[in-house]
Symmetry: C2
Subunit: 172 residues, 2 copies
C-alpha cells in the first residue's frame, strides 16, 4: 500500500511558508492506519519494550496503537500542567520561544525499557527533549519510531542515544 498517497500537504500551516504534512487522511483509512502501525513497530517486536511513550498530541494517536500492537503499556509525555500526579519536565527551545514536556515521576517504575513514538520527525527538538525526559525519569530509551521523517530538516542528527530511530516514511 502506498502510504505516501495518504498524506496531505497543507500549505502555510501552522505559519506562512510551511508545507504541513497532514496525517489525518492516513488515520481515517482503516487499511492505511493498520499498516502504518504494523510498520511503525516492526523493528521493535523483539526489543523487549516495556512501554511506548507518546508525545502529545499526535504522538498519542500513533503511540497508543503501537503499544497495543506490541502488547506493552503506554506512557503519555504531556504538555505542561496536564499530568495530575508528581511530574518531571524538560524545557526545550523552539524557533521562537520555548516549550516543555512532562512525564509522571513514577511513569517508568518497574517498566524501564521505552520506545518513543511521534508522528513526524522534523527538526528533532521535541524528540531530543523526550529522550532527556525519559532518562530523567529513570527510563532507558531502546528505540524511537516516527511515521514520517522530513529528511531535509536533519532532525536525526539530534538523536544521540545508542538505539535505533525508525521512520516508516521519508520525505526529502
Amino acid at each position: 500500500m502506498d502510504l505516501y498517497a495518504r498524506l496531505r500537504d497543507v500549505a502555510d500551516f501552522p505559519s506562512p511558508g510551511i508545507a504541513f504534512k497532514d496525517v489525518t487522511p492516513l488515520l481515517a483509512d482503516p487499511a492505511a492506519f493498520a499498516e502504518s502501525i504494523a510498520r511503525l513497530v516492526a523493528p521493535f517486536r523483539d526489543a523487549g519494550v516495556d512501554v511506548v511513550a507518546g508525545i502529545e498530541a499526535r504522538g498519542f494517536v500513533f503511540g497508543s496503537a503501537a503499544a497495543l500492537a506490541l502488547g506493552c503499556g503506554f506512557v503519555p509525555l504531556r504538555k505542561p500542567g496536564k499530568l495530575p500526579a508528581a511530574a518531571l519536565g524538560v524545557d526545550y527551545a523552539l524557533e521562537y520561544g520555548s516549550d516543555r514536556i512532562e512525564v509522571h515521576a513514577d511513569a517508568f517504575a518497574g517498566r524501564g525499557r521505552v520506545l518513543l513514538v511521534d508522528d513526524v520527525l522534523a527538526t528533532g527538538g521535541t524528540l531530543a527533549a523526550a529522550v532527556r525526559l525519559v532518562a530523567q525519569a529513570g527510563g532507558k530509551v531502546v528505540g524511537g519510531a516516527v511515521l514520517v521523517e522530513l529528511d531535509a530538516l536533519g532532525g536525526r542528527a539530534r538523536w544521540v542515544v545508542p538505539a535505533p530511530l525508525h521512520a516508516v516514511l521519508h520525505i526529502a
Copy 2:
C-alpha cells in the same frame, strides 16, 4: 482483572476539591491496557463502525487503540487551531467560560458511521459537543464508549442520540 485498582485518585486536580481519576497507571500496565481496549470496543464489534473519533487529548489514547482493535480508521476531534485543513467547530459551555472542538470538514467523507471515544464521562458537556460536531460534519454517531463514567455527575443524561453509550468502569 481489576481495572478499578489501576486507576489513581489525585486530590485537588485540576482545581481544589476535585478528585481526579488518573488513568496513567492503567495505561502503563500492558495487561490492563489491552483488557481496557478490548472491553471498550466489545459492544461495537458488529456495529459497522467506519471510524473511531477520539476527543483530544486522552481520547486520542483510547480512541486510537480502539480503532486498531476494531480494524477501522481514526478521526481526531481537536482543540481549536490544531487541524491544518478546512475544519468545522462546536463551542460549548464549561463551568467557567467555554471551550471548542474541531474536526476536518471532510473527516467522515465516505466513512460516516462513527464511534465516539473518550477516557472519562463526567458532566457530559464535551461528549455532547462531539455528538453535535460529528453531525455537523455529516457523520452518524453509532455509539459512544468511555473508560470511566462518573455516575454521580449525570453526564449520561446529555447523551441524546439513539445509539448505545458504553462505559467500561462506573464510579458512583
